[in-house]
């Protein structure tokens, strides 16, 4: 598959100003803007990296440039949410989507490890789709736990937090310039572990209608807090309450900022 992608990248580079991808050199692997003439043998797909964040920064800096991106399923879902929130200009973007390997999808408990590219103006797809991935068993287990058990569980987890902001920094849909998590009005500075419930619940509630379940936050967390259990539960709530699935539809506007007539509630949830 990688050869196919390299060929496609080389072909598109003749038309585009550059393609964002991962480059592997002797120094390690990192995000890189491939230009025409670069050594495409250095283009790799692993490990997972939030490339949409890099693309967003590039698009904002170079207002006229046409960039491409090599993106997997979760990257494309993130691009959808970022486009709706004006962090990505879809007209200046060429998407080269590829599917994750079955092992990768299983590791991520990823429900749709293949990019949905039909709705994008300029896109193509490489690879076959992977099916039959089981959801995170911890989420199901969590639903049957009592409030006391949940409290104990999260107290133990949040106690490990070193407030590195890694989960926020790596998140493709966390892009606000003024962050509530750094505002002393909401989160008291200088406390370790950070305040409960403010720090973690503000992050979590901001993830409603945004979290595309890419699990980068969990990968980045040095304390290995299973944040996506919380975010998966919220994703399910949003889907039950309003019928909105973040990252699925490029046309659907974020429902929390719409009126009840534009985005009606499906249930009370309470």
């Amino acid at each position: 598959m990688i050869e196919e992608i390299r060929t496609q990248v080389a072909k598109q580079l003749q038309k585009l100003d550059g393609i964002v991808g991962l480059r592997q050199t002797n120094q390690g692997t990192g995000p890189f803007l491939f230009r025409d003439g670069d050594d495409l043998n250095q283009l790799v797909l692993e490990p997972r990296y939030p490339l949409p964040v890099v693309l967003s920064k590039l698009q904002k800096q170079f207002r006229d440039a046409n960039f491409g991106i090599v993106a997997r399923g979760c990257d494309v879902r993130a691009l959808v949410e970022m486009t709706k929130r004006l962090q990505i200009d879809s007209d200046r973007l060429y998407l080269i989507g590829f599917t994750c390997s079955a092992e990768q999808a299983k590791m991520c408990y990823c429900a749709d490890p293949f990019p949905a590219i039909e709705q994008w103006p300029k896109a193509e797809m490489i690879g076959e789709s992977v099916t039959g991935v089981q959801p995170n068993p911890l989420v199901e287990k969590f639903k049957t736990m009592s409030w006391e058990d949940r409290r104990t569980f999260w107290h133990q987890q949040f106690q490990k937090c070193i407030k590195c902001y890694g989960c926020r920094d790596i998140c493709p849909v966390c892009f606000c310039e003024a962050c509530s998590l750094e505002d002393p009005q909401w989160v008291e500075p200088g406390l370790l572990a950070p305040e409960f419930p403010t720090f973690h619940l503000i992050k979590a509630i901001h993830m409603t209608t945004r979290c595309v379940s890419c699990r980068q936050c969990e990968l980045a967390c040095p304390s290995e807090i299973p944040l996506t259990v919380l975010y998966d539960l919220i994703r399910e709530d949003v889907s039950n309450l309003i019928g909105y699935i973040p990252g699925a539809d490029l046309e659907a506007a974020p429902p929390l900022s719409l009126t009840l007539s534009d985005a009606p509630m499906k249930s009370d949830l309470v």
Binding site: F153, F158, S180, P197, T198, I205, L233, M265
Partner: protein
């Protein structure tokens, strides 16, 4: 000898309906509990999750959000945001083990003084049963 537990309640009241409703209850001499600490906001849609979480963090045993009825909002659709936001936050509180019944949303218009008294009384009674929040959030330490 310890005194019986009396919950502290932060109530976010919208300027146009619920604050006037609370005022009306006072003028009409309808008793409502003294546990309520009202904070006037211009719209129930102004009440961000951050404000509610900080109230809990600061030791509020319950948070009450009262606004205009759907359709009667002074800003036409401000409370449409509230009605979606609060259930999500309630569920989130449940997921981390804070009783979601500590957060309550209802609509009280400026003419509904008896309803204001009823809602506040019922909410405070619920909180009396739930006990202090310090058992669910350890105040004063990080986690």
């Amino acid at each position: 000898m310890s005194e019986p537990f009396e919950p502290k309640v932060i109530a976010f009241l919208c300027n146009w309906c619920s604050y006037a409703g609370a005022d009306n209850a006072g003028i009409s001499r309808i008793p409502s509990p003294a546990n309520i600490l009202p904070i006037r906001v211009m719209c129930s849609g102004r009440v961000s999750p951050e404000m509610i979480l900080r109230a809990f963090r600061s030791g509020a045993d319950g948070v009450l959000v009262l606004g205009c009825h759907i359709g009667d909002c002074h800003y036409i659709d401000g409370n449409h945001r509230t009605v979606k936001r609060i259930p999500l936050l309630r569920n989130l509180l449940g997921y981390v083990g804070i009783n979601p019944n500590r957060l309550y949303l209802d609509w009280v218009s400026s003419a509904e003084a008896p309803k204001f008294a009823k809602v506040t009384n019922e909410f405070v009674n619920t909180l009396r049963e739930l006990g202090p929040i310090s058992e669910e959030i350890k105040i004063g330490v990080g986690v």
